[in-house]
Symmetry: none
């Protein structure tokens, strides 16, 4: 069997094992056994557990970014971009639960150098969402400028909500990617719109019944 194919098999097995057991609890024995090869071959191709895990993180990061990117129409309005991006995101996490577990749970839980690796990807997604919010802000030019930190916080909130909904959608039978995306759009978009319009919730005057 050619090396490239073997490596792919190994990464597949590693993603499943790391995703289900975690970095520490996963054993190289189990990974080798899942592939049906001997452990030395795994070491020959992928050098060490740490490198293997890092490679998994990188591969799954790239796959996630590629999936989301493929789902987005570059020139479309911001809310359309967000919508299609979210649908792609939820579809991808639903199809790759172990890969998503590696990125969202395991990599961030097991310290350096893994956390840094996945943080890069997450920051890229947050930056993309930040850009969408800024773009909206420019489109609705009547609005007062949002401070950088506000935008950053909003993007974090949106991405966190998406992550939470991804887990919820995977656990709840029958929730489709579109449904999860719709839930998030309904939840988020009006809030963003109001912010653009300069309306804010405050302790004194509450927006809803104000």
């Amino acid at each position: 069997m050619p090396r490239a194919e073997r490596e792919r098999q190994m990464m597949d097995a590693a993603v499943r094992t790391f995703g289900q057991r975690g970095y520490r609890a996963a054993s190289m024995d189990e990974i080798a056994e899942r592939v049906g090869v001997s452990k030395p071959l795994v070491y020959l191709y992928l050098n060490s557990k740490e490198e293997l895990f890092t490679a998994c993180i990188r591969r799954e990061s790239e796959a996630l970014v590629a999936a989301v990117t493929a789902g987005v129409e570059p020139g479309a309005p911001a809310d359309r971009q967000l919508w299609t991006g979210l649908v792609a995101f939820f579809a991808h996490t639903a199809e790759n639960p172990d890969g998503w577990a590696v990125l969202h749970r395991q990599a961030r839980t097991h310290g350096e150098p893994f956390a840094a690796e996945v943080t890069k990807t997450r920051d890229a997604l947050v930056a993309y969402v930040t850009g969408l919010i800024r773009a909206t802000s420019r489109e609705a030019h009547s609005a007062p400028d949002l401070a950088d930190r506000d935008v950053a916080g909003l993007a974090q909130a949106l991405v966190g909500a998406a992550e939470s909904l991804a887990a919820w959608a995977n656990e709840t039978p029958g929730v489709s990617a579109r449904e999860a995306a719709a839930t998030l759009m309904n939840f988020a978009w009006a809030g963003l719109g109001n912010l653009m319009a300069g309306e804010r919730w405050t302790e004194r005057a509450r927006l809803l019944h104000g």
Copy 2:
């Protein structure tokens, strides 16, 4: 030194160690050393690594719920309850980063029986938020009823956004609990309000520029 105090010290050390290293990577040696006692004493008092971790999860869960509960005025309107609850939540996670790491990251990452333990607490918080959304829905009685699953998804999104913002606030210097809470209220409340009013974002007719 009396047993009760030693046990508290041990739990403190355990929360720090588990929070920073993860369940598997944390060693009983390190925990004992942090307390300044020998390992057998840790086992004498807390029985096993698994029980110790479970005890940490339980203690931190109770502390978190207690902090949020203490921050909420029971009779207040839903948005006020959400606001004060969020401030309490962000304040607590900021003051107890390791406890929060144990709950949010480690416990959910290391499989059963730990995940079940923390899921109970998270489900309780989600249920509380669900209740707030339902209460809002009743207050704005003009609105059509939201389906159960919609409410559940919204609550998941809100809790996920809060979790994400907690991490962000802890990493970003100078972000206070009130600021994090305000970001989330602004993000979320108008969206909820629109939903109550029967307005939804759809692919065809977009709310924002509609």
Copy 3:
């Protein structure tokens, strides 16, 4: 509580624990707990696990020898002495299964210095049986003298048979001490008698149908 009484309680608990678990598997914790006292008290009174076990062996040895001795009429004929001694032996082992387990199983299994301790007692019993056989030999003075080693072997066989029957009687419901003793007398006595009479089993000419 007076020391003597406490020591007796401790020995009782130790005999039960050692008898059931073995020397290594028995823990001082368990023994102390069975008595309902703290471990330091056990050490204060009995010094160490090794001394405690040795004390158990000695106490149970003495109790066994005392029971058998009490069952024997000194002036009686050899077979009568054997009979009453066996009945006493089987009765004692049935009433003190843990003590018997300490002597027969545990002490001989766990090396020096314990094996030596119990060997002394067993050798005394073997010597006593040897004496009975010699006495019989003198009574039946028509017989040719038995070699020392022959007598020693016979005594070993008899004692081993008794030990085996003790275990069998304890495991088999409804087997009384008298029944066990009768089985052994029937098994052994005629063989001894024939030996006294100079008749031996040989490969060529078999006694039974000879």
Copy 4:
């Protein structure tokens, strides 16, 4: 070195170590060191201390049964079968003192699941002896039938006597297997013969001088 041979070496070392020290006191370190390999290799091949001990018991059981079986002529008269079986038994235990210690002492002393394992083998031997006694009873058809329990007791006594003589022969220099077997035959056979003939020792009328 090929695995099969290493495993044999390990079992040899384990039998020696367990036989001399007992199950609990034997350490995997010592066993590994005796073989001249590292501990992990022992675990890789034999899984655990418990499995290793069980494997030792089984191997030694089979070896013992094989030795005795090989020594017996199937069609021969009962006393001849007993004689040759005993010679084989004493020869085997003399050649394998550690294996015999594992079976006779250690396995029966350290509770389940080991006791059950060796009990199976011992019961098989007892059953074989029981068969011999029954066969004798049939050959001497003039005798009244012996009750099942009587036969069982006799077989236990005979096997116990053999076990005791095995230890004695191993400790006493110069006692051959044939000599030990002769001692036991002389001791036992006449007793059995008398029983077949319906003569029993009783408290009142003693056979010997009757």
